[in-house]
């Protein structure tokens, strides 16, 4: 009996060990990807800040009552831009995003523009209308793809296919802290734009409204690109953390199993000695 259980334990140890090797390898891959993802995220930040400043300067002197892309209209339908991952095994990364969308879109009619394979699969499966059939990727996403998406969103907004555009992505705060964020992309919220203190007369090359019409798609593309970079860094960080704790768990499990194995081995030896001694006494 002791022998059989010894064999069982040995098999368990071996299987946990091979799982640990995989989680460890995934952790290493994630760590090496993380550095580049963070660099990309950092370099995508300035655009949003400066673009907001520039747009607010342009808006400040816009005298039209109806400013394109800034004046809200009655909302009947929303479009969600949802950024999730390409793969699973990243803790709650994907499901957190989907939960946030479900909570936010309750009772609203909406269509989606999913980015990342997990998001595309999920919303295709749910039967929600997708804005575009292109399979947008998160890893290695380029600025060009973000411009295509931004144009698509602006086009849909102009044609009144939807009246609001929301972005759901994972914001990278620190290595240990990534939060899902839901933000409005269109109409651009004025409160987001910094107030300007001293309005002076501005020279416009074109009408302010026309300027905005041209610039808002660029701004959106920049926002999308930065959100994609943020999400990817979060995904990699969460995967690294998940794999780190999985490796630690496996390690703890192995030492527990080793202890049990040794105990079983000791038990078997003791029993054998007892049997031999008992045999000799007879």
């Amino acid at each position: 009996m002791a022998g059989a259980s010894m064999k069982d334990i040995k098999l368990r140890i071996r299987s946990v060990e091979s799982t640990m090797q995989i989680t460890k390898a995934m952790q290493l891959v994630a760590t090496s990807k993380l550095r580049r993802a963070k660099e990309r995220m950092e370099s995508s930040k300035p655009f949003g800040v400066l673009a907001r400043q520039a747009i607010s300067a342009a808006v400040a002197r816009c005298e039209d009552a109806h400013i394109p892309y800034l004046t809200p209209r009655e909302s009947k339908r929303r479009c969600y831009v949802i950024i999730a991952g390409e793969r699973g095994l990243a803790g709650g990364y994907n499901s957190n995003v989907f939960k946030a969308v479900a909570a936010h879109s309750e009772g609203v009619e909406y269509c989606v523009l999913p980015i990342g394979r997990k998001a595309i699969d999920k919303y295709q499966h749910m039967g929600v209308q997708l804005l575009d059939d292109t399979q947008y990727r998160v890893e290695g996403a380029n600025v060009g793809a973000c411009f295509r998406m931004a144009n698509l969103l602006v086009e849909g907004y102009d044609q009144q296919q939807f009246d609001e555009v929301w972005l759901v992505y994972t914001n990278f705060h620190t290595m240990m802290d990534q939060q899902v964020d839901v933000q409005q992309l269109l109409p651009v919220i004025r409160a987001e734009l910094p107030e300007d203190a001293t309005p002076v007369s501005t020279v416009y090359e074109e009408e302010p409204a026309e300027t905005l019409r041209k610039v808002v798609p660029d701004y959106l593309a920049g926002r999308l690109y930065s959100a994609v970079c943020d999400s990817f860094a979060s995904e990699v960080a969460m995967r690294r953390n998940a794999m780190d704790s999985a490796t630690k768990n496996a390690d703890a499990m192995i030492s527990e199993l080793r202890l049990r194995y040794n105990r079983a081995r000791q038990g078997a030896i003791t029993q054998e000695i007892t049997e031999i001694v008992a045999g000799a006494e007879e």
Partner: protein
């Protein structure tokens, strides 16, 4: 010469952040030159060659497309779709792109959706080639 604070930014990076004597860029209305103490200004950008003169008086050429140029309180922000310094441009690639776009344009009719895209591509390729030469 007097300088002003200039920031050039594209979605994927902060290209330039520092003092400049002069900025020349192509807006939708044509080339403009920004010098220090310029009045507040806003213009959408076209596609074309651009250059800056930095505080040491050295000229840096670039190709720039899309976005907006604003001057506000004496500080200039150029947010562009693409902004490449001349030394970053692959001339052979730009020339290939020019040829391809020209061929495409010959085949397309003027009201094709693709026509706009291809002509933008051609303009970008020409801007890059101009920036290098």
């Amino acid at each position: 010469m007097a300088t002003f604070h200039l920031q050039i930014v594209t979605p994927d990076r902060l290209v330039f952040d520092g003092q400049a004597e002069r900025l020349v860029a192509r807006t939708v209305g044509g080339d403009v030159c920004i010098l220090a103490k310029h009045i507040d200004y806003a213009a959408p950008l076209g596609i074309g060659a651009a250059h800056i003169v930095d505080e040491d008086g050295k000229e840096h050429k670039a190709a720039c497309s899309g976005g907006m140029l604003t001057v506000y309180g004496g500080e200039a922000i150029l947010m562009a779709t693409t902004f490449e310094w001349a030394e970053e441009i692959d001339l052979a690639r730009a020339e290939r792109a020019q040829q391809q776009a020209e061929e495409k344009l010959r085949k397309l009719s003027r009201d094709d959706r693709e026509f706009v895209l291809a002509s933008a591509k051609l303009k970008r390729a020409i801007a890059r080639i101009n920036a290098v030469e």
